[in-house]
Amino acid sequence: MEPFDFRPLVKPRRIAVAGVSLTNDRHPANVIYNKIRLRYPVPVHAVNPRGGRFLRDPLYASIAEIPETPDLVVIAVRAEAVAAVLAQCIERGVGAAVIVSGGFAESGRPDLQERIAAMAREAHFPFIGPNCLGVYAPGRFDTFFLPGERLVRPDPGGVGFVSQSGGVLVDQMVKFSAQGLGLSLAVSIGNKAVVREIDLLRHFAADPATRVIAFYVEGFGRNEGRAFLEAAQAAGKPVVVLKAGKTDAGRRAVGSHTASLAGDYRVFSDALAQFGIVEAHDEFELTCFCESLSHYPRAIEGRVGVVTVSGGHGALATDILSGLGLEVPALSAALQAEIREGLSANVRPIAALGNPVDLTGSSTDEDFLAAVAALGASPEVDCILLLLLPYSPGISADLGARLSEVHRRSGKPLVAYVPHVEKYRILIEGFELNDVPVAPSVDGAAFMVEAMRRCRPC
């Protein structure tokens, strides 16, 4: 099948919202219409069979009556009425639809869903849903029937995110935002009657703005998993998957050890590893992995040089990294001597350089620069983890920006931990605006390293 043309879905030049109510201000269609009308730079039209005026704008009785053809129609009418609106969209030459309405396969009406899916397949017309929140395109538009003031809205950025659950998507937007991670596009695909994960995966693979493709998946259809894996492997950019439903019912446990041992989740998880797709086990990992891989889309072996101002943090980080199966190799005497050579006179005698490289609380910016530059140039490690506690007076607000230049010179991935509190904002942004990810915790920083190691076929 020819791939869908998603341009009308992701960059619509004109939108219509079907189902706008004259009596219920909180109707999903009204929420969606109002937010686009008031807050997004794209023309939007309200549709309701009764016609007339909505507020002071025209209310069109059908898609056909709108003077100019919309690229995208958001359908938020009763389930029984969706097919008629969909027919109008196809007839009018609309490019795509988002069907927000519920009342289909999820509530015992697979017949209604099959009917609209058949219409769309026949016309090769892409629609998202039904039973979904639809699309969030930062700065352009969104189809979420949740008031804008209730949402945390990530900035435009490099993550393309597809979720089978609208709730998980909205919550993940909170987490992405807290991490300073932007979205190229987020899609809640609901019952995925026509547009499925693999279609959006292909879209994101071809989209230059997307650097990491992330999924929240509950399950694939029959034999759909393999095609997804092959497309993900061919995407040429990191793919991260958070799978829910890890506990098997064990319903096929009788008769075969293999069927009982190779449960649905075991097969799913092993298959991701086989194809070099990064599995996140929870939302925190998902956020860390997306952050890290949007900066560093290539795999590492996982030999980590740890640089710290606190011996305790170095030990904690080493424990976490080792627990994940990453290596914190002892540095050679030659490399230690080279690092020591570059340290300031009062740090030189007290620093412990075996790895972790503990520069102590007396360290200054220059000591960090010297240690990171030496590690960056050495083949003994393939990634550098910085534990940067800005309490030390020798550390300046410029350190993030200055260290990121070392990374840009050597090309070696650099991940930092800086406590995420407002007073350290300038230091954090010094890293992040210069392409170095910053974690809000030591384990988060370790997960950012782990992401790069998982990002290759096992």
Binding site: R222, G225, G255, S256, T258, L261, A262, D264, V267, A271
Partner: protein
């Protein structure tokens, strides 16, 4: 590479929904998966002759379309030292439901692995490797990969097992032959890919591996439900 299953196997299996073990072993052998030396015997004389050829000690297992789980009903005699022992074992097996004869096989030793296959709803044919034997359901130390396997998939399966060192060598235990294990798994994966439409699952448990060889000691092939 298996072009076609030996004739008659699927037809014979259809009525009870799984492949009787002599046929299962024939199918594996035809596909190049190494199995224990064995022979099917319909009567005691045949069994004694087979055991003499194979060499004692031998294993004898009931062959009955009514018995899928042989060891649950006392259908496996694992350590038969001599002809008298075989005659006694035969008498016990012959009393089991649906008895058609017995499979007489060499008694293998080595590291016990499980090799399996199942047709997954979302991903299609899947190959499983794990530490086998009777404790397989307790430790659940298994890893799966989608079929068909490539050589590097086998290497990564071995190293993903928690007990990988039991295969690669640990203290007194010699490493098993990874080239033999790899060849067996690749041949098995090709077979599974070729017959994926017909089957629901396969258990090869145990597969005995030593530094010299890997061989299937027990095979159970369950057919896909008739459409």
């Amino acid at each position: 590479m298996l072009k076609e299953a030996p004739p008659g196997i699927w037809e014979a299996a259809r009525p009870h929904g799984w492949v009787l073990e002599p046929d299962a072993l024939r199918l594996l052998e035809a596909a190049g998966v190494p199995v224990a030396r064995h022979a099917f015997a319909a009567g005691l004389e045949e069994a004694l002759a087979a055991a003499a050829r194979i060499g004692y000690p031998v294993v004898a297992k009931v062959v009955s379309p009514a018995i899928l789980h042989k060891s649950d009903v006392g259908g496996v005699e694992t350590s038969i030292p001599d002809p008298a022992g075989l005659a006694a074992a035969w008498a016990r097996l012959a009393r089991l439901e649906g008895f058609r004869g017995a499979l007489v096989a060499e008694r293998l030793s080595g590291l016990e692995l499980i090799v399996g296959a199942k047709i997954d709803e979302q991903f299609g044919p899947v190959i499983l490797l794990g530490l086998g034997g009777t404790a397989v359901e307790i430790y659940r130390d298994v890893v799966t990969r989608l079929a068909p396997l490539r050589e590097r998939d086998v290497a990564s399966m071995v190293c993903c097992l928690r007990g990988a060192r039991l295969l690669t060598g640990y203290r007194g235990c010699a490493a098993v032959s990874l080239p033999k294990l790899t060849a067996a798994l690749l041949a098995f994966s090709e077979l599974v890919t070729a017959i994926a439409e017909r089957i629901e699952s396969i258990d090869l448990n145990p597969v005995f591996c030593t530094p010299e060889r890997c061989a299937v000691a027990d095979a159970r092939i369950v057919l896909a439900p008739a459409p």
